[in-house]
Amino acid sequence: MTLFRGRRILAGAMTLVAVAALAACGSKTTDENTAAGVSADVSGDTVKVGLLNSLSGTMAISEVTVRDSIMLAVEEINAAGGVLGKKIEPVGEDGASDWPTFAEKAEKLIREDRVAAVFGCWTSASRKAVKPVFEKNKALLFYPVQYEGLEQSPYIFYTGATTNQQIVPGLDYLKAQGAKTLYLVGSDYVFPRTANKIIKAYAEANGMTVLGEDYAPLGSTEFGTITNKVKSSGADAVFNTLNGDSNVAFFKEYKSAGLTATSMPVVSVSIAEEEVKSIGTQYLEGQLTAWNYYQTTPGAANEKFVAAYKAKFGADKPTSDPMEAAYVSVYLWKAMVEKAGSFDVEKVREASDGITFEAPEGLVTVDGETQHIAKTARVGKVGADGLIAEVWNSGQPITPDPFLKSYPWAGGLS
């Protein structure tokens, strides 16, 4: 009897899934039919922009701060008169650390709220999920986080670093420090896997050996074995592309295993000031990070940004690279719109080339061809105060090269 009942439940569940799948297909076709008719609603005295970040789940640790700094930029711009005389009206959505949710919310922001541009996404998985949505609807996304490169979409502006502005300089730094062997640890999704492919190509061309690579699912908190493998490999340095709060578990385990920044330094590319604070300085002191901006970066523009952020969100809140890139992205969009004299997506894109902005990280310039921006690369060391102090920088902004065309060793990657 129970067996039959079980089968009936199973059959019911299957039917439900089938119906849901059919419904999904159905809605897709209607979308395509009307896709051309969507454009931003700028008829009122405000212009809506979408903010799409994870406010819950494993990525919230990082993405909430990005949302905060976008809000700061929006408020500053509104206080100074808005964009083309219109006040910006932000519409926030929660991507919930779930990639299909990101796509769904992007669709909602574009089609229902009819926003002029969307600011957000953190993981490459979420960006890849929303990319077709933006391309289909011909809407604009400003993506503020460093990523694995090898991508270029006419409807995405990448205001974080591509690989030649972060990972490659980070590797150059390690090479200069005399590191000969590396161990790669990352989360199991597109950014770490692609980044590690690039790192391996770089290592091969530069006489370095990669002793091992390991991936943990996003949100994974069991790092006993990976730490053992890292430790027994005896590598000169670890290149860490873990994302979200897996880093908490990894660094706790790393310290428990007796590994330190002097015995085996870790270079991280997704740990900024905010993450240092929540992982705990006791676990991270002395470890290295590669970014384009630190809270400690000198300059008047940064002093103003840090002061404004702390005044709004609390004196104990640090500022970080993705936050800065997100803050800058709103100003870049404003400059593009003003240069174009219109909110029209195609006109904004045409106007983008050569736009510059005196950002907290220093001068940034939009490259109209790749829709990335020229940025200065930096390597920093986590201090006892939880802030990151710069130990090296590239001296001048590096031109974005998302497909690494100017690096002969990267030939086989894209």
Binding site: S56, D214, Y215, G224, N228, D245, A249
Partner: protein, 295 residues
């Protein structure tokens, strides 16, 4: 050799974590047959209890020690409340219990989000537990892992003793073995059920305290643990503690060695395949309790 021993220790410590999260379930699901999907949220409650206590008592070591009994009572009380309000009305309807407790688990997750915010939080570990003990031969044993191992061992011992020698334990075993006969013998089975649920849920709270030493605390942490917990209890066999203990450590060592030889994801697949194969061979689990009850 060093690596092998290090890996063995990692496996055993993964097993200890599995054991802690499954022990409470072995009581509520294993002994009482209640499929409680909210068990993971009781673990979460224990973890958040540690977090709250650390906000109040700033010394990390003391707050952890105080958290153990407090988390036991907090999670246990939540369990009793759940049993009293919902589960006791559904003892004859296991599938409905599954749905109801799943609903409760979603409500508790949202509650945690509303109280503590969606981003995960962390606790500071006491200095004593962040270090490690170096053994000869370059083997290091992490203190927090040792602590969890000791905690799991004491929980098993305490629970075994409680079930074997205390009057309550005798009553629990009587109810498990033959509910009707226990009832006619004058045992208040409803009260025994409530106490069993209190202890089982309380153990989940203790597991929550232990987990704060390893990773972050978040509203969804329970969902990630509940599947592992059920696997351990199902494979171990219903109605017995020793099956749960053996299977927890076996799966831990299997996971660690698989992960060492391949990758984390492949190791997970290997563990699942091993479980499926085992259950094909012994659907009733490793050990079963023979009873004369008619159910």
């Amino acid at each position: 050799m060093t690596v092998l021993i290090g890996q063995l220790f990692t496996g055993v410590s993964i097993g200890a974590v599995l054991l802690l999260i499954a022990l409470g379930l072995a009581l509520t699901f294993g002994q009482m047959g209640v499929i409680n999907m909210a068990h993971g949220e009781f673990i979460m409650a224990g973890a958040y209890t540690t977090y709250v206590l650390q906000q109040t008592i700033s010394a990390a070591g003391w707050s952890l020690l105080v958290a153990l009994p407090v988390a036991f009572v907090v999670a246990g009380a939540m369990g009793v409340l759940l049993e009293f309000l919902l589960i006791r009305r559904l003892y004859a309807r296991p599938l409905d219990t599954l749905l109801v407790t799943w609903g409760v688990s979603l409500i508790l997750q949202q509650l945690a989000r509303d109280i503590f915010g969606s981003p995960n939080v962390q606790t500071r570990a006491p200095d004593l537990l962040t270090g490690n003990i170096a053994l000869p031969g370059g083997i290091t044993v992490a203190n927090n892992r040792l602590f969890i191992l000791a905690l799991a061992a004491s929980a098993v011992v305490a629970l075994t003793v409680a079930l074997r020698v205390t009057p309550l334990g005798r009553r629990i075993r009587a109810v498990v073995q033959n509910r009707d006969l226990a009832a006619v013998s004058g045992i208040a089975t409803a009260r025994v059920d409530r106490m069993t649920f209190f202890i089982g849920s309380g153990l989940a709270g203790i597991a929550g305290v232990a987990l704060t030493l390893l990773g972050p605390i978040g509203p969804t942490m329970g969902t990630n643990l509940i599947i592992d917990a059920f696997l351990v209890v199902v494979v171990g066999g219903i109605g017995q503690l020793k099956g749960t203990v053996i299977v927890a450590f076996a799966l831990g060592v299997l996971q660690a060695s698989g992960e060492y030889l391949t990758t984390l994801s492949v190791a997970k697949v290997m563990v699942f395949i091993a479980i499926v194969a085992f259950l094909q061979w012994r659907p009733q689990g490793m050990f079963t309790l023979r009873t004369r009850s008619l159910a």
